[in-house]
Structure formats: structure tokens, C-alpha cells
């Protein structure tokens, strides 16, 4: 395999692997809380970070991390406090982040619209040695958080009020979810690009839940699908000259369609098995429900 002997492809595949793990791992909590598009919002804000990185002549990935984390914290605060007109505030944040990125990039002498587009759409084969170090450190944080605190984060996303009454530090954990999502965006931006980051957080989860029944298997299957599409998409983009981000996302959508098509016969078979076990019998058992009081 000559592909594995090239240093830039080694880096690309490692980055792809880490993105395949981390994006669905945090995405599952966002989907559970029906905040599937939060990753997209952070992606827009990250652009300001990238632009700022160009302007300050600093590493765009670290500057973007800081800006994303700040943006995600603001989004979380808007979510938890300002219910009213929260959508308008978010819109301001998203488009402000996007416009800010374009503006800052044009002001800097290093950045150009061409270099900005490597962040927008991903350019996995240009991942540098410093980038890969940052990606590894950030990915480790995401994995430790999403796996280590899975029961706590699950409970918060399932029923926040109940989680608060168990005495969990819910506000802190909510901020942690937001920060982790922000970090994942910066991990993924070189691989799939800021405009497609959210796809990798959401689509593997949506695809796997077509055939899964529990949170644990959905988590595992989402990560599995994530890794499958990022690694094979990156490999494909090496052999056929196509952009990695778009290849990965289209493969994920393809898997979603296949699994959805498979899910219908699967559900039918499950239902058939259950029906075979339980035939209607008229033995009067459980009839008392019929006499239940009718509420006034």
C-alpha cells in the first residue's frame, strides 16, 4: 500500500480517523437534544477564528478553537436563558461569524479567499505536522469527555429537569457539551471543512439509528459509520482526484439511504416475530382496564 508510505497521507488518514470518531461522538448528544444544527452554527463562528488566525499570523486551528469555544458558550447561554428571541440571537451569531471570517481574512496579507476555502471545504492532504498534533490533543479531549461522561450527558440530553434533580452539575455539563462540540468543529475543519462539519456530526447518527434500538449501540454504530466514511472517503480522494470533505459527506448520505432501506424489512421481521409469539386470546385477562374511570 503505497498510500500508507506517504507522510502527508499518513497524517491525512490519522486526521480522518480522529474526525470519524469525534464528530459522531459529540453529535449524538446534539441530535438527542434536537440541536442537530448547533455544529453548523459553530462552524460559521469558527470562520472568524480562522480569519483572526490569518490576521495575527497565528495557527488558525488554535485561534479557531478559542473563538469556537467562546461562540459555543454564548450559544449555550442563549439556549438556557434567553428562550425568547433566541433564534434571532443565534442568527446574528452565525452570520456575524461568517462575515467576520471573510472580513478578517481579506484584511490579513497571509490569507486569501483560496486559503479560506481550504477551511470551508476541507483540504485533508494539506494537514501539516503542527495541525496533526493539535488535532490529536483536541480529539483526545473529545473522546474522553463523550465516552467517560456518557451516562451523565445522556441523562441531561434525555431529560434535563430530571438530571438537575439528581444533583448533577447540569449547567457545567451543558457548557462542557458546547465546548466539546466547538473543539470537534476545529478537529474536523481541515478534513471535511467548516461548511460540512455538522453533516459528520449528524448523518452517521441519523443513519445508525435507523437500525439500532439503544443509545449505546447507536453511539457505537455512529462512530463506526463515521470512521468508515472518513477513512474510505479520504482514501478515495487520494486515488480519484476529488475533494475529501464532499466525498465523505456523500458517502455518509449514501449509507444513510442504504440503512433506511434496510430498516423497513428489519422492523417488519421484528414485528413478525413478536406477532408470532403473541396471539390474541379472549381469556378475560387484563379486562379490568376497560372499566377504568373516565376522566371528567
Amino acid at each position: 500500500m503505497e498510500i500508507l508510505e506517504l507522510a502527508f497521507m499518513q497524517r491525512a488518514l490519522l486526521a480522518a480517523l480522529l474526525v470519524g470518531i469525534t464528530a459522531p461522538a459529540i453529535g449524538i448528544y446534539l441530535v438527542q437534544r434536537r440541536q442537530a444544527l448547533m455544529g453548523d452554527g459553530i462552524g460559521h463562528v469558527a470562520l472568524t477564528g480562522v480569519g483572526l488566525g490569518f490576521l495575527l499570523n497565528a495557527s488558525p486551528i488554535w485561534v479557531a478553537t478559542v473563538v469556537c469555544v467562546l461562540g459555543a458558550v454564548v450559544m449555550e447561554l442563549i439556549r438556557s436563558y434567553g428562550r425568547t428571541r433566541g433564534d434571532i440571537a443565534l442568527a446574528l451569531l452565525f452570520y456575524g461569524g461568517m462575515a467576520g471570517g471573510v472580513m478578517l481574512t481579506s484584511l490579513s496579507d497571509r490569507g486569501s479567499s483560496a486559503s479560506l476555502s481550504t477551511y470551508l471545504f476541507g483540504s485533508i492532504t494539506t494537514v501539516s505536522r503542527e495541525d496533526i498534533l493539535a488535532i490529536c490533543v483536541l480529539a483526545a479531549f473529545v473522546i474522553v469527555t463523550t465516552v467517560g461522561l456518557r451516562r451523565q450527558l445522556f441523562a441531561i440530553c434525555q431529560d434535563e429537569e430530571f438530571a438537575r434533580v439528581t444533583g448533577l452539575p447540569v449547567r457545567l455539563l451543558n457548557l462542557l457539551i458546547a465546548v466539546t462540540a466547538a473543539v470537534t468543529v476545529t478537529v474536523a475543519m481541515r478534513v471535511v471543512g467548516l461548511l460540512l462539519v455538522s453533516a459528520l456530526m449528524v448523518i452517521p447518527v441519523a443513519a445508525s439509528q435507523q437500525i439500532t434500538r439503544s443509545f449505546a449501540t447507536t453511539f457505537a454504530a455512529s462512530v463506526g459509520i463515521g470512521v468508515l466514511v472518513t477513512v474510505s472517503g479520504t482514501t478515495a480522494s487520494y486515488y480519484v482526484d476529488v475533494p475529501s470533505g464532499a466525498t465523505i459527506v456523500l458517502m455518509a448520505i449514501g449509507l444513510f439511504v442504504v440503512l433506511t432501506a434496510l430498516a423497513t424489512p428489519l422492523a417488519r421481521r421484528r414485528a413478525g416475530r413478536a406477532a408470532a409469539q403473541e396471539q390474541c386470546t379472549l381469556d378475560g385477562k387484563g379486562r379490568s382496564t376497560a372499566t377504568d374511570d373516565v376522566r371528567v
Binding site: Q158, T166, S214, S288, T291, V296
Partner: protein, 255 residues
């Protein structure tokens, strides 16, 4: 006298700009089962949510196990069943996974151990849902879902159960199962505060009833004999009755 597990004095609370609790007093003694009754919108859920710290009080005092609510941290002593019809998230989850959340007050940020899994099995057996442990919650009926939420509260093995309409949508046979489960808890020394619309099979368990109307306590004492909202003083009568006691007693079975 023994410390009450819940002590509320002169509590007031507002939602939005609307005063919803207007100075309620409520105590639940150790081992006591207290029913909170009242018409829709009378403030029952708000009172319960204030007790578990989800609605801020604008006045009055609130103590849990003798500790002012603000300083109360011992949440593993409390099991809470929120009023809810569906709490399904955007990702599949099994009954077992949801009920395991009830152990978080004990495990905190640590891992789940074998004792936690065993408590989940016991709680599911108590509510008669053990055979559905591996099923996704989205595939349950409303009443089954409600039983899962009760199991989640029981899984934490709390000393105080606070339940907001735990019997909503639960059929009579299952209500009897749950009443049995509750009796079991009370015999072990648990105290219970529960919001109900009808006493049903729980009636023999209930020591005292508190009736709310428009955010005020209008009755605190023996549970009303008759079952069904018509018999409650808090019920908003659409048509006037000269004497509510003259109404035939609704047993819930025959009406």
C-alpha cells in the same frame, strides 16, 4: 417531634409575571404519604417543581430533610417523577438506559457499578416492566412510559418520592401494581408527595390530602372520600352544585 422531610411555609412563586403560588404551607412527615390535589392550573406542578428546586421561590421558606432548599445537596434521598407525557429524545434509548439515569444521584460523575444495574432491574420489576427492559422507550405506550419514569425514580432508592401525576394514563391494573410498589416503599420508611387527580387504588395508602386552588391551600387533612375531580373542593365547577357532598360517590370503578 421528628423532622419533617418536606416543610414549606408561606411559599410564593411566579411564572412569567403571573403569581402561581400565593403563600402555600405544606409539610410531609417521615413515612407519610401526602396527595396534592387541585384543578388544572391550580399550581400543583409549580409547587412540586419548587420543592425540587426547579422553580425559584419569590418568598417563604422551603426545607428538605431539615435543610433549607438552597443548601440542600443530598439529592440521592429524593426520587422525582416529573409530569410528562413523552420525554423521548432524538436518539433511540432503551428502558434500561433511561432507568439507569435514576442512579445518577448516587454515582454522580463516576461509572455505573453492578449495584446500580441491580437496582435498575429491581425498579423495573416493581413497576412490572422488567420484560421490556431492552425495548426502546419510543416503542412504549403513554402509560408504559409513565411506569418507566416511576421506575427511574425508584431506581435511586430514595427516602422521599416526589411524583407529579404518576398515574396519568396508567390503566387500573397497572395502577394497582404501582400502588403495591408504593406500599412496599412506604413500609420501608419512604415518604411520598404525589400529585393526583383521582386517588384510585392509592386511596388506602394516602395519609393526608392537600388541595390547591389558584395557588392557595384550601384543604389540608383527611383525603376527600369521594374520588374524581367533581368531589374536590379545588375543582372549578362549570355548573353550580348546591352541596357537593350530595353527589354520588365516584369510586372510579363504577362511574
Amino acid at each position: 417531634m421528628e423532622q419533617p422531610v418536606i416543610a414549606v411555609r408561606g411559599a410564593t412563586a411566579s411564572l412569567g409575571s403571573r403569581p402561581v403560588l400565593r403563600g402555600i404551607d405544606l409539610t410531609v412527615g417521615r413515612g407519610e404519604v401526602v396527595a396534592l390535589l387541585g384543578a388544572n392550573g391550580s399550581g400543583k406542578s409549580t409547587a412540586v417543581r419548587a420543592i425540587v428546586g426547579q422553580v425559584p421561590l419569590t418568598g417563604g421558606e422551603l426545607e428538605l430533610f431539615g435543610t433549607p432548599r438552597r443548601r440542600f445537596r443530598d439529592w440521592k434521598r429524593v426520587g422525582y417523577v416529573p409530569q410528562r407525557t413523552t420525554a423521548a429524545g432524538g436518539v433511540p434509548a432503551t428502558v434500561r438506559e433511561v432507568v439507569l439515569s435514576g442512579r445518577l444521584a448516587r454515582t454522580k460523575l463516576g461509572p455505573a457499578r453492578r449495584a446500580d444495574r441491580e437496582a435498575v432491574v429491581r425498579a423495573l420489576e416493581l413497576v412490572g416492566m422488567a420484560d421490556r427492559a431492552g425495548d426502546p422507550v419510543a416503542a412504549l405506550s403513554g402509560g408504559q412510559h409513565q411506569r418507566v419514569l416511576i421506575a427511574r425514580a425508584l431506581a435511586g432508592e430514595p427516602e422521599l418520592l416526589i411524583m407529579d401525576e404518576p398515574m396519568a394514563g396508567v390503566d387500573l391494573a397497572s395502577q394497582e401494581v404501582l400502588a403495591e410498589a408504593l406500599r412496599d416503599q412506604v413500609e420501608r420508611g419512604a415518604s411520598v408527595l404525589l400529585v393526583l387527580h383521582e386517588l384510585g387504588p392509592l386511596e388506602p395508602l394516602i395519609d393526608r390530602a392537600v388541595v390547591l386552588r389558584d395557588g392557595c391551600v384550601v384543604h389540608d387533612g383527611a383525603p376527600p372520600r369521594a374520588v374524581g375531580q367533581h368531589a374536590l373542593p379545588g375543582h372549578d365547577h362549570v355548573h353550580p352544585h348546591a352541596d357537593p357532598a350530595a353527589e354520588p360517590i365516584r369510586t372510579g370503578l363504577l362511574s
